[in-house]
């Protein structure tokens, strides 16, 4: 259908554009203004950031957490997707089980993690009852940061791997059965089928999952804050701390802007290198 110079589509689309300008565009500009406003001139907040050891620790924590969880989630998500895609009897049930954390919030998921890693949690009880340790130990808290760090990592992996799993499982449906049959005829090994046929078809989904997860991992907040407060500072956590505890919207915006900057770079890389297909061509809901 071609409607040339028809104003209707623009009229129907304009409320969306107006809303996005009002609630994304303008706040973004204000974030810039806030971040570049300080008693020491426009760069004052950023100078303060760069000079403070805290910022570097925060950036390092965020990057290390992202660097650990994203690859692990990709590997585990892929393994789960390949496993479920075998379509054994009852695979749908397992699919729904894996999907449980999808709908859970980071706050709720961290509280669940607390039932396992808390002082009177499942893990301590199990360790004490089996006699492996005599007294319960702390897994969370400022004085045991190494352990708390790994609890956060495990919680994030538990919570967000299913997202990668669902994206990859959707991608696996695009693998043409005939290719695999042809590969069988030519005597491809399982490994060869995986690397030569499945992986290339899955690549766009893997990149999508990788980048979405990188974006969100860089904004990690709820899990860290609920489980360990500011014990392990992360970017979004510092923005929240500066805003709500120190009432300094300028520093909060400076942190926010750093998060935005990284997000823009990541999304830009994504759009340039892996431009997604037009989504209406993918058809409706299956």
């Amino acid at each position: 259908m071609v409607y040339k110079k028809d104003p209707v589509p623009f009229l129907l689309f304009s409320p969306l554009i107006a809303y996005l300008i009002l609630f994304m565009g303008i706040p973004l500009i204000q974030t810039f203004i806030l971040a570049f406003t300080s008693p020491q001139g426009p760069w004052g907040n950023f100078e303060r950031l760069v000079r403070s050891g805290e910022f570097w620790v925060t950036l390092q924590n965020t990057l290390v957490i992202t660097g650990i969880i994203v690859p692990l989630q990709l590997i585990l998500g892929l393994a789960l997707a390949l496993f479920v895609n075998q379509r054994f009897k009852g695979y749908l049930f397992i699919l729904y089980i894996i999907a449980i954390p999808l709908a859970l919030s980071d706050v709720s998921a961290s509280l669940m993690s607390y039932t396992v890693f808390g002082y009177s949690g499942l893990l301590n009880k199990a360790l004490v009852m089996t006699g492996l340790i005599e007294f319960p130990m702390y897994f969370l808290g400022r004085h045991v940061q190494d352990r708390a760090f790994w609890v956060i990592i495990i919680t994030e992996i538990w919570r967000a791997t299913p997202l990668v799993f669902v994206i990859l499982l959707a991608g696996l449906q695009a693998v043409n059965k005939e290719y695999l049959e042809a590969a069988d005829i030519f005597g491809f090994s399982k490994w060869k089928k995986f690397t030569r046929i499945i992986l290339p078809v899955l690549r766009p989904s893997m990149m999508a999952a990788l980048l979405i997860r990188t974006l969100f991992a860089f904004q990690i907040f709820g899990v860290v804050w609920v489980l360990n407060d500011r014990g392990i500072p992360v970017m979004a956590g510092e923005a929240y701390y500066y805003q709500t505890q120190l009432h300094n919207p300028n520093m909060a915006s400076a942190y926010g802007l750093m998060i935005a900057l990284v997000s823009v770079i990541i999304s830009w890389l994504y759009l340039v290198f892996f431009r997604p297909k037009k989504y209406e061509e993918r058809g409706g809901l299956a």
Partner: protein, 265 residues
Amino acid sequence: MIKKIAILVVCVLIFAWFVGPVFMIVIASLTPSTEYYKMDQILPRSLTLNHLESLFVRLKGWEATMNSVQVALWSILISFLIGLPAAYVLARYVFKGKNLLRIIVLMTRSFPVLIIAVPLITVYLRIGLNDTILGVSLAHTSMILPFIVIITSGILSGISVEYEEAGMVFGLSRFGSFLRITLPLALPGLAASAIYAFILSWNEVFVAAVLTLVNRTLPAHILNTAMTSPDYFKFAAGTVMAVPAMIFIFFTRKYLMSMWGISLK
């Protein structure tokens, strides 16, 4: 045979890993405190509703839950009012510049919504929206809108345009034929995407926590009190937050792939 056993073992492990923590928090929220703190006892011998009661009655859980529900419903309403027409355009019209519009929507999807919270406070203070349900809903809408547009335009383009054209041949207006033909066909998918929107809003914590002080949503309330609250509060709160999410995912399980799988692609 060995393969079957292997699959079964992996399934059991997956089940334990994903269901375990959920089961533990539901049980913990029902366990009397004296039993929870016994180190040699994992499962309770008696159950109690005291924790949930004190969360709701004494610790402002009920107000927070109601706030969360209201925020989510407002966000869904606004998102659909604005998003559905835009989705219709992407699904049905062909015109110059459409690709640009699509890219705008895709770009905004990965917009880090947490950064709009801080500047919005100043604006809200000026127009009297600070610490209000509507204020949080408007912010949540900007996070939800791109997803609603992407998902619903997928649904709409899955419904053949010929039905609509047939309606128009028989004298319906374009809008009338959308309302009478396409919309009813799209309804199940739209309901699923509304639920998706509900979950996005229900779970969002950063913006809600920054924008509210007294009228906290449930996650914002928990975030601000969890560290200083007794354990039973955490378990009760975590359970209450998880329940609607689980129910919804059960009802929309057919749409799992299309919502989470495709909208994020």
